[in-house]
């Protein structure tokens, strides 16, 4: 781990229950500025739940989470601050279907950051160029392909100029030929120094840009390490088994 940078995300002994179901059983994780973290593991292991506690889409019941020095508690102002500093990209894109691509991207900067419309639109256009679809600005999400929609979703998150980007299986809902165009954008983002936490089973992506990988199973971190360590010499049986399953596909 890179100890010269202070931690930008700290999770200590995070527990989460859905009713009686214990979904997160004491998660510990420190993420430094600029790090790219990949989380993987079987379905239902709590990957989404954990990544969603970081911007408080889910509430944790024990332990503490600090994002950029702000602790996530019931304080609504803290939560909104953390959310403006944290971008999130969902498996199902979740674009706003009644707004154009441009409006999707500029809404939050204008409403939350109080930017002027013109400034927001200029930034949005630059972001659309960065994700490779500047010509789609005035279309509605329903008129775009899945890969284009997900790239708009990334641009929308980036428009808030977040310090951290969270990705929850961003390519799982995409047809194979569109996965690459989204991964390319994410690789570029990782190389630009963005702090990223990515839930994904795209091991090629993990190999290329991840600093560390975390294997989740049954609400716990079973194993963590650099991609080198995880792919070449996994310590735990469960990690080995899971990797052999997904890599054989």
């Amino acid at each position: 781990m890179n100890n010269t940078h202070p931690a930008i995300i700290t999770a200590r002994e995070v527990h989460k229950w859905y009713g009686n179901f214990h979904a997160l059983k004491g998660i510990n994780m420190e993420v430094s500025k600029g790090e790219v973290i990949v989380i993987f593991g079987p379905s239902g292991s709590g990957k989404s739940t954990f990544i969603r506690t970081i911007n408080r889409l889910e509430e944790h019941q024990r332990g503490e989470i600090l994002v950029d020095g702000i602790e996530l508690t019931h304080d609504v102002r803290n939560i909104e601050t953390v959310r403006t500093e944290t971008g999130m990209v969902f498996q199902q894109f979740n674009l706003f279907p009644h707004l154009t691509v441009m409006q999707n991207i500029t809404l939050a900067p204008i409403q939350v950051r109080n930017w002027k419309k013109q400034q927001a639109e200029e930034t949005a256009l630059q972001l659309l160029k960065r994700v490779g679809i500047p010509e789609q600005a005035n279309k509605f999400p329903g008129q775009l392909s899945g890969g284009q929609q997900q790239r708009v979703a990334i641009a929308r998150a980036l428009a808030m100029q977040p310090k951290i980007m969270l990705f929850d299986e961003p390519t799982s809902a995409l047809d194979p030929e569109m996965i690459k165009e989204v991964l390319d954008v994410m690789v570029e983002l990782a190389k630009s120094g963005m702090t990223m936490i990515v839930v994904t089973h795209e091991m090629g992506f993990a190999r290329a840009v991840a600093n560390r990988m975390f294997f989740f199973d049954q609400g716990q971190i079973v194993e963590s390490g650099s991609p080198e360590e995880i792919f070449k010499a996994p310590k735990e049986e469960r990690t080995k088994l899971f990797l052999s399953q997904i890599l054989s596909h």
């Binding site: 889409l57 009644h98 939350v112």
Partner: protein
């Protein structure tokens, strides 16, 4: 290989009408029998009805009381105000048709042509002049909208916003009536003289417009995290929905005065408007709730993840989608409210139905129930159907009701 285009279907399949008849009416033996039986039934019904309408019915009762049916006892010398108000609405309608439904000339011709058509009926000269004004306003509005749709869009929207206040103000007037002084162009006409279609129209529009914000608040209140607000909303909605409108109208007439400090007399028409608004709001709240529930959770999450507050998420993301989704339902509610206004006749107001009852109580028109109620029914039906047709057109041309 043979060119597929040269193969024709069998003769019976070629002619449009024959094919349609065969497929839809005479496909099987039982179909054929049903067709013949229902055709005879319809023939017999229509024939009896027409025979009655043409040979027996005395339509004089409608012709003689047409003004009562339209505006009740509204003083004749003030009628010009109503025509002006109507002309403003027709003007806006022309504008809107040209801006938002450009391609459909048929709708424009039908709606704007109606006053032109009416001019040729044997109305009083005064009426015909005003009908001419209506036609001119409509055509002028349409032309304006057609030639500069983008630049006047905003003014038209504002026009609709102020249309109701203008209409009510013109109907009511400003200057108090003073005895022995001749009334001016804007002398106040008390609401007990408002009647007929005019009153029906005002009741419908006022109740619907004011119930909208109220219903919206109730729908949001029902989802509130504050228990008091939630319980109040649920309590209100369930209470009102469990009571017939007519009882609410009675209560508004009889009980509203109890809640108001003594001495202040609330207008009877206003009481009916309040009653209908409160009633309509509960149903509207449930419709809005349905729309809100149809919005996927991911929309809330995406908005929250961007840092939008709860209120901004509602305003910018959720409500626009939810309301768009339920516009057809809202139009349905509007139309059913239009018909429900007939209940105010029972609490003694002179709306379309109330006027029908007064007309029937005049000695010279006794026993003409069939004619009067047939006319009133036909009138309600025509207006309901017209509203439903226009809204469907607008829905398709605005792409509403689909996600």
């Amino acid at each position: 290989m043979q060119n597929p285009e040269t193969i024709l279907p069998p003769i019976t399949e070629r002619s449009g009408i024959l094919r349609w008849l065969r497929h839809n009416l005479f496909n099987t033996w039982s179909d054929a029998i049903l067709t013949v039986v229902s055709a005879s039934l319809i023939y017999w019904l229509v024939k009896s009805l027409l025979t009655w309408a043409i040979t027996v019915a005395e339509w004089d009762v409608v012709v003689a009381n047409l003004r009562l049916f339209m505006i009740g006892q509204f003083p004749l010398e003030q009628v010009g105000r109503l025509w002006v108000a109507l002309a403003f609405l027709v003007f806006l309608t022309g504008n809107s048709l040209a801006i938002w439904d450009r391609k459909s000339y048929l709708a424009a011709i039908l709606i704007l042509g109606l006053p032109v058509f009416l001019i040729f009926l044997p109305f009083a000269p005064q009426t015909r002049i005003w009908l001419g004004v209506l036609a001119a306003a409509g055509i002028l509005g349409w032309g304006l909208g057609y030639s500069a749709p983008q630049s006047i869009k905003r003014s038209v929207a504002i026009g609709w916003l102020i249309a109701l206040p203008i209409f009510v103000l013109l109907t009511r007037g400003f200057t108090p009536a003073v005895e022995d002084v001749p009334s001016t162009a804007l002398t106040i006409v008390p609401t007990n003289l408002w009647g007929g279609l005019l009153l029906t129209f005002l009741l419908t529009v006022v109740a619907n417009i004011f119930s909208f914000p109220l219903g919206l608040l109730l729908a949001l209140g029902r989802r509130s995290e504050l228990p008091i607000i939630r319980w109040f909303s649920i309590g209100y909605i369930e209470l009102v929905r469990g009571v017939p409108l007519i009882t609410i109208l009675f209560m508004a007439q009889l009980m509203l005065p109890l809640f108001v400090p003594g001495g202040i007399d609330i207008d009877r028409v206003l009481r009916a408007m309040v009653g209908m608004t409160l009633f309509s709001a509960a149903y509207l709240a449930e419709n809005v709730r349905g729309g809100l529930q149809a919005i996927p959770k991911g929309q809330f999450e995406a908005a929250h993840a961007l840092g939008l507050s709860g209120a901004k998420t509602m305003y910018f993301i959720i409500l626009p989608q939810a309301l768009r989704l339920i516009i057809p339902i809202l139009v349905g509610q509007f139309i059913s409210m239009f018909k429900d206004t007939a209940l105010v006749a029972i609490v003694g107001l002179f709306d379309l139905l109330g006027i029908a009852r007064t007309v029937l109580s005049q000695p010279e028109f006794i026993g003409l129930h069939r004619e009067v109620y047939a006319f009133v029914s036909l009138f309600y039906w025509t207006l309901s159907y017209a509203m439903s047709y226009i809204s469907q057109r607008l829905e398709t041309s605005l792409g509403l009701g689909v996600r």
